[in-house]
């Protein structure tokens, strides 16, 4: 998706290891979001950022932390991965949430 890149696209990791997912944007948008998508649950907000170093929790933030030291990068860290964190993770950006989001292509994370 133009202007937003997620890395890696796929990752398999072991239970108990830390994992960091990266979202990079070239749109200079103020707002950045991390969602996870699971069957039967739709998309659930993990954390979001409304500016450099300004972040807040979403509805499923336990076990996750985020950092945003630059406008263009929003990192999601699983501090100690568990099998319940196996999911597809999407990053989204917005210049004005009232106008909608642009989504990345997702990261498929498997915790074994």
């Amino acid at each position: 998706d133009a202007g937003i890149t997620q890395s890696p696209r796929h990752k398999v990791t072991e239970t108990g290891t830390p994992v960091t997912l990266r979202c990079h944007q070239t749109e200079n948008h103020r707002y950045m979001y991390w969602y996870r998508q699971d069957p039967g649950h739709g998309l659930r907000l993990i954390h979001y950022s409304y500016g450099v170093k300004d972040t807040d929790k979403g509805e499923v933030s336990d076990g996750y932390s985020v950092s945003r030291s630059k406008t263009e990068d929003f990192l999601l860290t699983l501090e100690s991965a568990t099998s319940s964190q196996t999911s597809v993770y999407f990053c989204a950006i917005s210049d004005d949430p009232q106008h909608g989001y642009t989504f990345g292509s997702g990261t498929r994370l498997t915790v074994v």
Partner: protein, 110 residues
């Protein structure tokens, strides 16, 4: 949860037919948006309707909003095989967060 809920969960139609999916939500909103997700991809923004609007059109898409019933519907007219995807409503409250429903999976049979 503040999620919207789409109905039906799955819908299968013949090419050329119209597809209607519904979204219900729980609290007052500023606006409501519909997104499409093709298999294995991110979500793509389709259309936005504000809380003071009742109907909006974009190409073959028609969205209605009934704030008294806390519900919205998305109509896709003259469906095509390429419309096969999952469709999500997202409700926007005051603030910076969207809440997504669980989606309707649409299959258009050629």
């Amino acid at each position: 949860s503040q999620q919207g809920e789409e109905d039906p969960q799955a819908l299968s139609i013949q090419e050329g037919e119209n597809a209607t999916m519904n979204c219900s939500y729980k609290t007052s909103i500023n606006n409501l948006q519909w997104y499409r997700q093709n298999s294995g991809r991110g979500l793509v923004h389709l259309i936005l309707i504000r809380s003071n609007e009742r109907e909006k059109h974009s190409g073959r898409l028609r969205v209605t909003l009934d704030t008294s019933k806390k519900s919205s519907s998305l109509l896709i007219t003259a469906s095509r095989a390429a419309d096969t995807a999952s469709y999500f409503c997202a409700t926007v409250f005051t603030g910076n967060q969207f809440y997504f429903g669980t989606g309707t999976s649409l299959t258009v049979i050629p």
